[in-house]
């Protein structure tokens, strides 16, 4: 399998604080890759670098595009990463458009193709037939995802009225409406109950099997990570301490040390091994 996302020597400094230090990892095409680590390990910083919300201090982030093309994400502004490299993301604290209906939320996600179809508003203003067709297609795509996440009946309700779990699903559906190559999910299972969490697993596995979208996710919920992820990258203090399939990562002593803490004597050895 080839890599969809290649991160090399990524370093992000905020003044004197090194949030991410010389991190290299790959996310495979068609796979679900998880980025885990204790609080403050730098996971969200990596996400913000990949999606262009931060510009990394050092390092390259490459995304494999169509026909061998490559997008250098560290050089693109955030909206062009979403538009051209087609990397979509969700947020740790959900960022929907609360005063717009579910359908409108999903229509905004299809802004760029619709904008082109509307002849940058000129053709759309006079109701050009190609635009009407494109709009209908966009509505159908939105309907497809609403049915997928079980919210088709609430399509015309405002997003702000949805319960928390449904908002999480809607945010994923909205990201999927951009037809992304890589979907970055920032703690998608945070705050979900057991049933909602199971639905989320199902949705992510569906995306992996039925759509040409690779997934990179940050997660605290180990059950989600162990169940659905193909590959895990573990961060601690901005440094990668382990990488591999779930079974191997779970038994890695450094990971256990980072998550559960260790005896006083073992700290030095663990840190020495982690290269700190």
């Amino acid at each position: 399998m080839s890599a969809i996302l290649t991160v090399e020597h990524l370093t992000m400094r905020f003044g004197g604080l090194v949030a991410v230090n010389d991190l290299s990892f790959e996310a495979e095409r068609g796979a679900i890759t998880a980025l885990i680590g204790p609080n403050g390990a730098g996971k969200t910083t990596v996400f913000n670098c990949v999606t262009g919300f931060y510009k990394p201090t050092v390092g390259t982030i490459r995304l494999a595009g169509d026909a061998g093309a490559e997008h250098l994400l560290e050089r693109l502004p955030d909206f062009r990463i979403a538009r051209e490299a087609r990397v979509a993301r969700t947020f740790q604290n959900i960022r929907l458009f609360p005063g717009m209906s579910l359908l409108e939320n999903l229509m905004v996600a299809q802004h760029n193709p619709l904008m082109r179809a509307s002849g940058f508003t000129v053709l759309g203003l006079v109701g050009w037939p190609t635009f009407t067709a494109a709009e209908q297609e966009a509505i159908e795509r939105a309907r497809y995802w609403l049915e997928r996440i079980g919210l088709a009946a609430r399509a015309d309700d405002p997003a702000g009225e949805l319960p928390y779990g449904a908002q999480r699903r809607l945010e994923i559906a909205r990201a999927m409406c951009t037809v992304p190559r890589l979907l970055c999910l920032d703690e998608p299972a945070a705050g979900l109950n057991a049933r909602e969490s199971a639905e989320l697993d199902e949705l992510l596995l569906f995306i992996r099997s039925e759509h040409d979208t690779s997934i990179l996710l940050i997660e605290h919920d180990m059950s989600v990570v162990m169940k659905i992820c193909d590959r895990i990258v573990v961060l601690d203090y901005g440094v990668k301490i382990a990488e591999g399939p779930p079974a191997r990562v779970r038994d890695d002593p450094k990971v256990i040390a980072a998550y559960l803490g260790v005896e006083e004597d073992d700290v030095d050895t663990a840190e020495a091994e982690a290269g700190l």
Binding site: T51, F53, D78, F79, R80, A82, R83, A88, R89, F91, R95, L96, F97, P98, G99, M100, S101, L103, E104, M107, V108, A109, Q110, H111, N112, L114, M115, S118, T121, G124, L125, E135, I139, R143, L146, A152, A155, D156, D157, P158, G160, E161, R174, A175, T178
Partner: protein, 433 residues
């Protein structure tokens, strides 16, 4: 039991009203009660106006008492102000409000043909309706607080005045040019303020409005400075002048010459311009650009994560809003025949913004109603002279207390699957500037 509770309420209300009355006495006692003036010899004299103080304190006392008795301590609840039954009757009526207003606007010149005052007032109100709708794009849809909107109105007015005077261009050629020039200045304003939000954006747009006004005031060679530009060409009926000549409007259409023809024409002209603004805005809301504006108002970061170029989106909002301001400005110049920087002070910007906020940000009908109420009300209270501002301010405070989201606060989705349902105002964001 019930009687005891009522008596207790009355006692509490009296107490609270007395307190409010005392506070009012403290406030007004010296400020209103004692007045200083220059005496006949040039010395400072003072006189008292305690009767006014008594009136004010009595008004505060009575108002507080009434509020306490009607609403109790819980504050003014809108639900208790408008009974449910009345609401049920009013809801279907609201659907006919827009067609009714439009119908009234269409027949107004026919009904009030001989009432010049009403026609002039109608033109004035419609100018503000158009300005309100134009600013609504920037403030209501894109959520960018613009305190300098009058600058674009000024650019439009001066564009028409200068182009018509120096190059002899007709109104119909100048109108799009004025719009384009205003849109250009909208983009010029947009660039520096792209990174600003909220209060900072408001301050810079306010400064921009003042800059334009001060340039107009000081660039004597071009703008005539404080003297303004006079004898701006009046509009013609698509090339046919409104005069008493043989080839004038009246003669050609076999009518007796009357100055009212031009006024009626101006009325329908501004009505058409306003309706075009409205139509374009409604269309734009249903296009990707309009949805992006509203999404920008809701959450800018989410917009960027979806691949929306927020820079361009903001600039188009500024440009299109400014363009309609420019159209309105060109109309203003041709109607007045005389313009000076005085017409484009900050108060105008504030008034237009007040119309948009009062009407309900983003609502076309709300803004139109607010313009009618504000400008019409202003004229209605003309005889109250100095108290006019007081009444206007009080009315505004009351409306904002009862309907914090404006007259029409709900938002209708631009697209729907099964049924278009109004979205409650509390969910809709106002934007961060």
């Amino acid at each position: 039991m019930a009687r005891a509770a009522v008596r207790h309420d009355l006692a509490a209300a009296l107490k609270s009203a007395t307190l409010a009355g005392l506070a009012a006495l403290g406030l007004f006692g010296l400020i209103v009660g004692v007045r200083t003036d220059t005496g006949p010899t040039g010395a400072l004299i003072y006189y008292t106006r305690f009767d006014d103080v008594v009136l004010l304190v009595a008004a505060v006392f009575a108002g507080t008492l009434a509020r306490e008795l009607l609403f109790g301590r819980s504050g003014i609840a809108r639900g208790r102000l408008v009974p449910e039954r009345l609401k049920a009757v009013a809801a279907p009526l609201a659907r006919f409000a827009a067609p009714a207003l439009l119908g009234f606007a269409l027949i107004l010149p026919v009904v009030f043909y001989h009432n010049r005052y009403v026609l002039d007032l109608g033109i004035l109100v419609l100018t503000y309706v158009m300005l309100g709708w134009g600013l609504n794009i920037v403030v209501g849809l894109a959520g960018l607080l613009d305190l300098g909107y009058v600058a674009f109105y000024a650019v439009g007015a001066y564009s028409y005045a200068l182009l018509a005077q120096h190059f002899g261009l007709s109104f119909w050629i100048c109108l799009p040019l004025a719009g384009i020039l205003a849109a250009f200045w909208g983009v010029m304003l947009g660039f520096p303020v792209l990174r600003l939000r909220g209060d900072y954006l408001a301050i810079v747009t306010l400064a921009f409005g003042e800059i334009i006004r001060i340039v107009l005031l000081n660039w004597q060679d071009v703008t005539g400075g404080p003297n303004g530009i006079s004898s701006i060409p009046r509009p013609s009926f698509f090339g046919i002048p409104f005069n008493n000549d043989d080839n004038g409007f009246a003669a050609l259409f076999g009518l007796e010459f009357s100055a009212t023809h031009r006024i009626v024409f101006l009325f329908y002209l501004i009505l058409a311009l306003a309706l075009i603004t409205n139509w374009v805005t409604i269309r734009l809301r249903r296009l990707p650009i309009g949805r992006a504006w509203e999404a920008l108002r809701e959450d800018e970061i989410a917009c960027r994560s979806l691949g929306i170029n927020t820079t361009n989106t903001k600039l188009t909002a500024f440009a299109i809003g400014a363009m309609f301001g420019g159209f309105a400005g060109a109309f203003f110049a041709t109607r007045q025949g005389f313009i000076s920087p005085e017409s484009f002070s900050f108060v105008e910007s504030a008034l237009i913004l007040a119309i948009v906020v009062l009407g309900g940000m983003g609502s076309q009908l709300g803004v139109a109603v607010a313009a009618v109420v504000t400008i019409g009300g202003f004229e209605l209270f003309r005889e109250f002279a100095v108290y006019r501002m007081l009444v206007f301010g009080a009315a505004m405070v009351l409306v904002m207390a009862w309907r914090p989201r404006g007259l029409v606060g709900t938002r209708l989705p631009s697209v729907f699957l099964a049924k278009r349902k109004a979205i409650d105002a509390t969910l809709v964001k106002e934007g961060h500037g």
